[in-house]
């Protein structure tokens, strides 16, 4: 960490020479897709056109201000009309605009061409996480911000990817056209990764499309860009692009893990095991509203610590998590969490922060409930 003073000085210096510096971190990233490069060059073209117009316009303006000062004895002329000049300065901008519209139209058409995608991924925005579903592959998972709360509150040193890191990134192969289908469960979100030049609103009840074809393996980070409530600033998007082979083995691994997990459904879990797993689930999913210590922030987000209603009625407790509460901020986690995770988080909530239900909820019970 630099000192405050150093940073202020650096910032001020940079602000002064800013128009000259268009280095990375100051400008739109060139990105790693064909479209992002196209958009970047469009952006730079318009920028330089604006600079050129600005130089001319402000040049004339400051020349006039300097040259025709009354203190230097300037006498005012009295002209106030010149049709020729006026036609000229209407027509020339019009031509410049047409010249700008042509490449912009071409790029836009390119962006709208979602045909011939090889992979389809459904992206669902939820307050405040993203859910990815690989259509036709039976793989689905949620992606939560993994920056610890202590870093946000300043109790811990902020690390490099502060606020831009997730527990499970969206994994995509390079050199493959991927179609993204975007929707949302609650309010409007917007999925954005600057280096992929993809930004698309995710709207409840509607499905939007976009596509991406990544050229280089790497990790690309972005954020939700449509105000979606309290934790709008804490719902990052992370895309990990892999070589095709690596992607295939990742897919296989995922599928195996899913199988492992489904085997876990049948066996009996110990309280400690469930508590350990539940704490993780709670931390990534529940803590943003109900707080790490279960104190909530009533009235919108009720406290879970000492919540007798919840402790007295385990079925109601599970039902609330599985089906959500209509008309409130509590979403349904039926499709977000698997039975093991639901069992674990229910058990955790019933036995943490001084709650002493003492009972465990087994994954098999959840499966039963979900099936009935």
């Amino acid at each position: 960490m630099r000192t405050l003073l150093e940073r202020v000085a650096a910032g001020l210096t940079l602000a002064l020479i800013s128009p000259l510096v268009l280095a990375n971190g100051w400008n739109m990233p060139i990105g790693v897709t064909g479209l992002s490069r196209e958009i970047h060059s469009l952006h730079m073209t318009i920028f330089w056109i604006c600079v050129a117009i600005g130089v001319v316009v402000f040049g004339v303006m400051f020349y006039s201000l300097f040259r025709y000062r009354r203190s230097k004895g300037a006498k005012a002329a009295n002209f106030h009309e010149h049709t020729g000049v006026e036609v000229l300065w209407t027509a020339v901008p019009l031509l410049i605009l047409v010249a700008m519209a042509v490449p912009a139209t071409a790029t836009l058409k390119n962006m709208y061409d979602v045909s011939e995608a090889e992979i389809d991924v459904m992206v669902t925005g939820q307050q405040w996480r993203w859910r990815y579903e690989y259509l036709g592959e039976d793989i689905a998972f949620t992606s939560n911000m993994s920056t610890p709360r202590e870093q946000i509150s300043g109790e811990a040193e902020k690390t490099e990817n502060y606020l831009l890191e997730v527990d499970e990134p969206l994994v995509l192969p390079v050199d493959t056209k991927v179609r993204l289908l975007l929707t949302a469960d609650d309010v409007i979100h917007s999925w954005w990764v600057p280096e992929l030049a993809v930004k698309q609103d995710a709207i409840p009840g509607f499905v939007n499309e976009n596509w991406v074809r990544i050229d280089e393996p790497g990790i690309y980070r972005g954020q939700c860009t449509e105000l979606c409530g309290m934790d709008h600033g804490f719902m990052p998007v992370v895309v990990e692009a892999m070589e095709k082979d690596d992607y295939e083995s990742w897919l296989a691994e995922r599928k195996e893990a899913a199988e492992q997990e489904s085997m876990g459904i049948d066996r009996e879990w110990e309280l400690d095991e469930l508590m350990e797993r539940g704490e993780k689930v709670y931390g990534s999913i529940c803590a943003s509203c109900h707080q790490v210590d279960g104190s909530g922030s009533p009235p919108a987000f009720p406290a879970l610590a000492g919540n007798t209603e919840m402790l007295d009625d385990v079925e109601w407790h599970i039902d609330t998590i599985v089906n959500g509460v209509s008309g409130s901020a509590m979403p349904a986690f039926r499709s977000t969490l698997n039975p093991v995770e639901i069992a674990a988080v229910v058990t955790y909530e019933r036995n943490a922060w001084g709650n002493e239900a003492g009972d465990t909820v087994q994954p098999s019970e959840i499966v039963e409930m979900l099936e009935e």
Binding site: E81, T83, E86, V87, T90, T105, K109
Partner: protein, 57 residues
């Protein structure tokens, strides 16, 4: 009629001679300018929409 259209066109373009402007405001009836103005605005919409449709092909 033609002069009205010409004046409205000039308005859309944003350039007009003082002389012509004065004539418009002395001789023309405001209603005819408004009607022609609205019609031209719709024409503009249709034109831009047409260009957009063609460009999208």
């Amino acid at each position: 009629m033609w002069s009205v259209i010409k004046s409205v066109l000039a308005a859309f373009f944003g350039v007009q001679r003082e002389q012509q402007r004065r004539e418009d405001f002395e001789n023309g009836r405001p209603v005819s300018f408004i009607v022609v103005g609205i019609a031209m605005a719709m024409l503009l919409v249709a034109l831009v929409a047409l260009v957009a449709t063609l460009a999208a092909r």
